[in-house]
């Protein structure tokens, strides 16, 4: 059954969903795409962020997004710490590929278990004024629960993009994986640059986590569900391209939404991964790889 009404609505819903996916993928786009660190634990950090937002909301009634913003600097510091460890243990020894991957696997477990120990595995959710509302524009409905995270995500993209494009350290982050020595010849310290970049990536997880818990209830192992999706988006968008990540997230969101609406929701995830497989096979540098 096809109507234009449904089509436009699916498009809008998909774009909103994609906007949210983008927020979750942004951090990995920085750490994996720009810094060449396969941080498979990224979704675990997002979940950690979601729990922080939950705590703020549950204990003091803070707005989850606000909590996310406040937590971001703390996450930044955690990221810096994790990178230091990673650097000392793997990167400096030039031993990062497989063992680094396994390391982040371990980190993912540790984050998850700590959360399980602290909160159990019940689904948690938050309260906020924008959860539950819906705007009708003509025949198109926009749930505010999706709209607000999407907007925050785009704002976060804009902020990160501006930072990377406009500041010296930001530009160094963009360059560090392309030529480490050349960057040193620009008087930059690649290790410090990567440290800032990794911190930034993990910092976005605090906000992405807040958005996640606004959209769906969460429990500690939800993060694993996102590993594939998030990697799909980052690879699809092209490693090293922040804007590509945003576009890929939107494409994936819209694709899922369209398939969900017109074909059958149960095929939606397969569509995403099929697209990824095809992209990997045909164009490994991603849609917007440069």
């Amino acid at each position: 059954m096809f109507t234009f009404d449904l089509f436009w609505n699916a498009l809008v819903a998909g774009a909103l969903l994609g906007g949210f996916y983008a927020a979750v993928s942004l951090g990995l786009s920085i750490t994996f795409g720009q810094l060449d660190i396969v941080n498979i634990a990224h979704p675990a950090f997002v979940i950690l962020g979601a729990y922080i937002a939950y705590m703020g909301n549950e204990w003091w009634g803070f707005d989850p997004i606000l909590t996310g913003l406040v937590a971001a600097p703390v996450f930044y510091a955690i990221g810096v710490g994790v990178y230091r460890f990673y650097y000392e243990a793997f990167e400096r020894r030039d031993d990062e590929a497989l063992r680094g991957l396994a390391f982040f696997f371990g980190v993912m477990f540790i984050v998850e278990v700590v959360l399980i120990m602290a909160y159990g595995v019940d689904f948690r959710s938050v309260q906020a004024p924008y959860i539950g509302g819906n705007w009708e524009i003509g025949t198109i409905g926009i749930p505010t629960r999706m709209f607000v995270p999407c907007m925050v995500s785009i704002a976060m993209f804009a902020a990160v993009y501006t930072y990377l494009a406009r500041t010296f350290t930001g530009r160094a982050i963009l360059a560090v994986s392309q030529d480490r020595l050349a960057l040193e010849l620009m008087a930059a310290d690649p290790v410090r640059v990567k440290q800032v970049g990794f911190g930034l990536g993990i910092g976005t997880a605090a906000i992405a986590g807040a958005l996640l818990i606004i959209i769906i209830p969460i429990e500690p192992s939800v993060g694993r569900l996102y590993i594939g999706q998030v990697f799909a988006i980052v690879v699809l968008g092209g490693l090293g391209s922040i804007s590509g990540t945003l576009v890929a997230a939107l494409i994936l969101g819209v694709a899922e939404s369209l398939v969900s609406t017109f074909y059958g929701p149960s095929w939606a995830p397969a569509v995403a991964f099929s697209v990824l497989l095809i992209a990997l096979a045909v164009r490994p540098q991603g849609l917007f790889g440069r």
Binding site: G106, E112, V282
Partner: protein
């Protein structure tokens, strides 16, 4: 006959003896051994690609599950016996492995790993939507209660898994010593140099991925009979993918003994931890051990042993 084959023969003979007699009355040992042995096969299979050839497969769970689902199809179709299921599951997964081998043409390193992850998700979605094998609801496979001369059918399953484990390890050991294995090592070290040394890299990679897939398939084939009820979430359980990587990494990826040691240690410890300590702690320990090993003992237990007792090579 080498020492290895005498050992392998002895292991099978003792296994058979234990399985057909009641020396071990306690069938828990068989259930636990089944799981551990299944991991020996899975870890060994992973290591053929990951350790010998340097291609990381994140999708082991997908192969394991397709092995199990092939068995379910055969069960649903003709109530096929286990000894038919095993080779056919192996062949189906071997063909999947062949397909994955062609991925190596375009994908290296992390990209290949992500590609295998995506492959597993696509396969899971297919199984979820395929009602003939139970779809999301799951499929029941009723195993015979007994099989003579083993008595309890699970004793038989465990014995079969022991034989499969010996086959897998023998295959890995053969590869390690054969021209083929040396070729794989060369590919892991430098694919271009390998090609220029006259090594047909693509053909070797295809054989290795096919073989690895085949072994993962046979590890999964008896699974439906073991649990009796298979649904996608349990067959595609991430634990298989994680253990398939963690076990060789902890044991050591450079020789056949690594995955075996890793699987025996980690698998046994998991079986024990299952029935002793609180599970949240279990998971934390898996994470910590993995982090510890990859940071402090990158060559795994085999590497540590070599380091302290000379290079036994």
């Amino acid at each position: 006959m080498t020492r290895f084959w005498i050992g392998a023969g002895a292991v099978i003979a003792i296994g058979l003896l234990l399985a057909v007699t009641d020396i071990i009355a306690n069938s828990f040992w068989f259930f636990a051994a089944y799981v551990v042995l299944q991991y020996v096969v899975l870890a060994t299979a992973w290591n053929i690609m990951g350790g010998y050839m340097g291609y990381v497969n994140f999708g082991s769970a997908g192969f394991f599950a397709i092995g199990a689902y092939t068995a379910i199809v055969l069960y649903n179709l003709v109530k096929a016996p286990l000894l038919v299921m095993i080779p056919l599951s192996g062949i189906v997964c071997g063909l999947m492995g062949l397909g994955m081998g062609y991925l190596t043409l375009r994908l290296r390193g992390v990209y290949f790993a992500i590609g295998t992850l995506a492959l597993a998700v696509v396969l899971e979605t297919l199984m979820v939507n395929w009602d003939y094998v139970g779809g999301a609801t799951g499929a029941y496979v009723i195993r015979p209660r007994t099989l003579e001369p083993f008595g309890d059918y699970v004793k038989f399953l465990t014995f079969v898994m022991l034989v499969l484990a010996v086959i897998a390890v023998a295959a890995a050991r053969w590869i390690e010593r054969a021209k083929f294995g040396r070729g794989l090592h060369a590919i892991r070290d430098d694919e271009i140099a390998a090609e220029c040394a006259g090594i047909p890299t693509l053909r070797l990679k295809l054989i290795a991925t096919t073989l690895s897939g085949f072994l993962m398939g046979i590890a999964g084939a008896p699974f439906p009979l073991y649990v009796g009820f298979v649904e996608p979430a349990s067959a595609f359980n991430l634990a298989y993918a994680v253990n398939a990587i963690a076990m060789p990494m902890i044991g050591g990826t450079t020789m056949w003994a690594g995955p075996v040691i890793g699987a025996l240690l980690l698998g046994t410890a998991q079986q024990i931890a299952n029935v002793t300590i609180s599970s949240e702690l279990n998971l934390l320990i898996v994470g910590l051990v993995l982090v510890l090993f990859v940071t402090l003992a990158p060559e795994g237990i085999v590497g540590l042993v070599r380091k302290y007792f000379g290079r036994g090579r």
